[in-house]
Symmetry: C2
């Protein structure tokens, strides 16, 4: 899983103590605010030992939440072809991980993030700093648009997890990767690279009353139900 092959696991108790301390510090201070020094102090060990067991702060964070893939390894693969076709590459890679035995660990993390405020914080922090920010950087997405674009992608992918792996609603639960990629890939592609003209807050919103005509091209009859 998150542990690198070739790295000695070390004393399991020390390892666990460091992980427990890291979870607490990352959740309390966020990824950017957390330091190896603070984590080491909280675990009662030398910072060098933290580095020895887990490598960099990024790697420690990945180990902390037991995510079934390493973003530093996966994201460059997805971004390699540039913006063209990135939606389909992302969905296909996502399915390859989640359809594999690693998906079980992913589902456990998802469940935990939904029900535990503290895990939710850690998971959000992980998603934002390790996945979304890194992905939009690799894809050279306009930093002004990147947060909304990437949180939209996160919404589609989280919902895919929910329907395919947690609720298991058919036929999406057992659809082949090809079908899912063809259906969901274009959604992700649009969120990452589609026209953003309507993806920013209108001036004065949300206080300004919005005219129905600005909102959508529907007829007054169609607008009644809102």
């Amino acid at each position: 899983m998150a542990r690198r092959s070739g790295r000695r696991p070390g004393n399991p108790d020390t390892r666990e103590a460091i992980l427990a301390a890291a979870r607490e510090v990352f959740a309390e201070r966020g990824f950017d605010g957390a330091s190896i020094r603070a984590i080491a102090a909280s675990a009662g060990v030398d910072p060098a030992l933290v580095h020895h067991y887990f490598g960099t702060k990024d790697q420690l964070f990945v180990a902390t939440i037991n995510i079934p893939f390493d973003p530093q390894e996966i994201l460059p693969q997805i971004a390699a072809g540039g913006m063209d076709g990135v939606g389909e590459r992302l969905v296909r890679t996502f399915l390859r991980i989640w359809d594999s035995p690693a998906g079980t660990a992913g589902a456990a993390l998802f469940r935990s993030a939904v029900n535990n405020e503290w895990t939710a914080k850690l998971f959000r922090e992980f998603l934002v700093t390790q996945v979304l920010r890194r992905a939009t950087g690799l894809l050279e997405i306009d930093p002004a648009e990147a947060p909304l674009r990437s949180s939209l992608v996160a919404s589609q992918m989280a919902g895919l997890v929910m329907v395919r792996y947690i609720l298991r609603i058919e036929p999406l639960a057992s659809a082949s990767p090809d079908v899912v990629v063809a259906a969901v890939g274009p959604t992700v592609q649009r969120y990452l690279s589609g026209d953003l003209s309507r993806l920013t807050e209108p001036a004065g919103a949300p206080d300004r009353p919005v005219e129905p005509a600005e909102r959508l091209p529907g007829t007054p009859e169609q607008l009644k139900g809102r």
Copy 2:
């Protein structure tokens, strides 16, 4: 709502007290760990009264699931304008419910469905029979395509719940309804009415090796990362 027509509602205060106690006990102990006896004790009534008002523990739970909208009321409003603009109408109505105090009940249900296999079953059953099937019927969607189309819509909406209301990832967590409708509406629209030529299992799939050229218009370089 979940209350059966034909069953006398009884004293509304007692009924509400039982429901409130049931929600608490179910949330604290899970369905399996909760008992009618414990719920009755928490509500300060006799267990027989709980059975009298709600029937079995299963039926009581269905009543407490308290979905924050009545599909029979909401869906016809969304479907009223036909397929044109239905994606935006659906997202706007969804946000109106979830952004309201009713959203709290929705989030509780979502959390419960993620962590309790039994609630997940109940929730899936509810979604499929009361929401998805009904919606695709109202919209007169080809029954052969309806299940996949509606499970795709469910995936986007479930993910919106996850990112906006559970994980609260910004800026989607506090984006105005207009921004969310503009971003997500077209996704829902495409899932409901978009071209389906690639939304069905290819003949012989998933055993047949799929040629890259069939899957997407990418170059071999772009395909490498998959």
